[in-house]
């Protein structure tokens, strides 16, 4: 019988990845995600996997490129400045349509920034980050259990759509401890075979993993094909949570750690008689624009309040989804500072 276990976010995520089929991990130390490579280095050999501490983030993501080319379930993790270094490889992997998982335990930036909690990598995660026209499937867990569940599924989604599944976590998710229920090990023998993998040619077919295409029509076709996949993601994989939104006059929009603070604020404000709700995207690419669009048509709704640990990044997607139908306001903290539920209550009440 499975039992809940108190685990640190980073370690729970690492274990969930292994149970979800991850057997190859390549990474480089950076705070606040170090427990992931540390855990992997000890745990992967126990399940017949392989851990390499790479010479750089650049190498780590390219090792993922090589391992994913061979059809393995491969993963890397890092935090903001390290993720910047991985962007080259992420662009190549997305274009070669290699499935893999990338985890970003976001810290404060830009530059070296700080090791504390922030959400300044939203644009990088959802709008490209690396060069060229590509996207990833981006999850934003708000609890360690949710992170475990999303990471556990991440490889299935990556394999199914041949995309990068990206976990946009944050320092708090990585460092905090919470009780979690770990899922069972996936049976890797039952996974569909990856016929395209470069594991050695067959009698009739050569496999090539490549992102170079000098014929403009062919390259355009490749990109259109990628965007067809993104349309499928939009249709099938968009996830979000609406909390007390039906009769809300004000809807807070928040993801990750901030959504928990927002939920507390909503509960306290409701207790005071105010009609406030929370909209929480779980995928930020694809962004749940339809759901927000529908909420923006509620007659009772007066405005959205987007709250982030940045100067305002997700707010752009919310505004696009609202499309001018309701005002969209913003409250953010930055630099490793985190708002309190009282801060958000004051903003909602117009005191701040």
């Amino acid at each position: 019988m499975s039992k809940k276990k108190l685990m640190k976010g980073n370690e729970a995520i690492a274990e969930a990845a292994i149970r979800g089929g991850c057997r190859y991990f390549f990474g480089y130390p950076i705070t606040p995600q170090n427990e992931i490579p540390e855990y992997m280095s000890a745990r992967l050999p126990e399940v017949g996997g392989c851990f390499i501490q790479s010479e750089s983030e650049v190498s780590a993501i390219n090792m993922v490129y090589g391992a994913a080319s061979a059809g393995a379930r491969a993963m890397t993790s890092s935090s903001s400045p390290g993720i910047s270094l991985k962007q080259e490889g992420i662009s190549y992997i997305a274009t070669a349509e290699l499935p893999c998982v990338v985890i970003n335990m976001v810290r404060g930036g830009p530059g070296l920034g700080t090791i504390f909690c922030a959400q300044g990598d939203y644009f990088q995660a959802t709008k490209g980050g690396g060069h060229g026209d590509y996207h990833m499937l981006v999850y934003t867990p708000s609890t360690i259990q949710e992170a475990v569940d999303l990471v556990y599924e991440a490889f299935d989604k990556a394999d199914q759509y041949r995309v990068i599944t990206y976990i946009l976590g944050d320092a708090t998710i990585g460092q905090m401890m919470e009780p979690v229920l770990l899922p069972e090990f996936k049976d890797l023998d039952k996974l569909p075979k990856k016929e395209w993998a470069t594991t050695g040619r067959t009698d009739t077919e050569r496999h090539i993993v490549n992102t170079l295409e000098m014929n403009p029509d062919k390259l355009e076709g490749m990109i259109k094909h990628m965007y067809h996949t993104y349309d499928e993601l939009k249709k099938n994989e968009t996830r979000y949570e609406e909390y007390l939104c039906d009769d809300a006059e004000i809807i807070l929009c928040a993801y990750g750690t901030v959504s928990r603070i927002a939920r507390t604020a909503v509960n306290k404000l409701r207790a005071e008689g105010m009609k406030v709700g929370l909209f929480r995207p779980i995928t930020v690419y694809p962004f749940p624009e339809e759901a927000i669009g529908k909420l923006s048509e509620h007659n009772c709704l007066k405005k959205f309040l987007v709250t982030e640990l940045s100067e305002g990044q997700m707010i752009e997607d919310v505004k696009l989804a609202v499309n001018g139908r309701k005002p969209v306001e913003f409250f953010g903290r930055n630099g490793g500072n985190v708002m309190t539920s009282e801060d958000l209550m004051s903003v909602v009440k117009g005191e701040k």
Binding site: Y24, F26, C50, I52, S54, E55, S56, V58, S59, A60, N62, M63, V64, Y65, G66, A67, A68, S69, A70, G71, A72, A74, E88, G89, Y92, T198, T199, G200, R201, T202, D203, R206, H207, I208, V209, N210, T211, L212
Partner: protein
């Protein structure tokens, strides 16, 4: 009756090579193919990695599974690949000098340090060919290029990098040899060296690299014949041929 005295290796496809006349890439491709064939490596057990640069289209030429890597990253890609495939499969890496000695310096050093069981063929022609003749990390002192138009100058550009000598210092580097392609005798020696490197991997002895001194007549501004003479007279004196590391007995 007519007798076949020479034919293309069955490890190569029928795709026409895009290399310039007099370029050594074609020779290197043929040698790699012949070595794999003569060592009886099953085509189904081979995966090659192409670099960025003049050899970027190599995935069209070798009749095996191929991965095209980002500039300089081929050894990291090969690492991930080989760790998954294991020693039953053969992984060769093909890189030029800008790729290996400059933008990918970290990747090659650490692949060697880890003693990854892969074989690297390193084409050193002292110039960036594909991008139009810029100075390479291996360009000779005084060598003219589009970014060293009056010749490579120590004060401005520093010294050429001797990768074989450098990598040979690493305990993880099992076999490192520098060869040349400037005449038939040396091409034959180059083939033996590549074969030794490939055997090294087949015997699970770890990392090997063969540096192949190569001609780039187009970007050197020389005829193919003069380019070969240039290797003999000017390049080899700076980049001496020979075995720089042989730790096969230690592995």
């Amino acid at each position: 009756m007519e007798k076949v005295v020479f034919q293309k290796s069955n490890m190569l496809t029928d795709a026409p090579l895009h290399f310039c006349p007099g370029c050594s890439h074609g020779i290197a491709n043929r040698l790699i193919a012949e070595c794999m064939e003569e060592l009886n490596i099953d085509k189904k057990n081979i995966v090659g990695i192409a670099p960025v640069g003049c050899a970027v289209f190599n995935y069209n030429y070798f009749d095996v599974d191929m991965i095209e890597a980002a500039h300089g990253r081929a050894p990291a890609v090969a690492t991930g690949l080989k760790r998954v495939l294991g020693n039953d499969k053969f992984v060769f890496v093909y890189q030029g000098d800008g790729d290996l000695a400059s933008i990918g310096a970290a990747e090659i050093i650490h692949a060697a340090a880890r003693c990854e069981n892969i074989s690297v063929v390193f084409i050193n022609n002292g110039i960036y060919g594909m991008t139009g003749g810029q100075m390479a990390p291996t360009s000779l002192l005084g060598q003219k290029s589009t970014t060293s138009q009056k010749g490579r100058d120590i004060g401005r550009n520093g010294y050429p990098v001797k990768m074989s000598e450098m990598l040979a210092q690493l305990d993880g580097a099992t076999y490192i040899e520098r060869v040349s392609t400037h005449d038939a005798a040396n091409v034959r020696k180059a083939k033996q060296a590549i074969k030794t490197a490939f055997k090294c991997q087949l015997e699970n002895k770890g990392f090997s690299m063969i540096e192949v001194l190569s001609a780039c007549p187009t970007n050197w501004g020389l005829t193919p014949v003069k380019a070969m003479e240039h290797i003999k007279n000017d390049v080899i004196p700076y980049y001496p041929l020979g075995v720089f590391a042989d730790r096969r007995n230690e592995k």
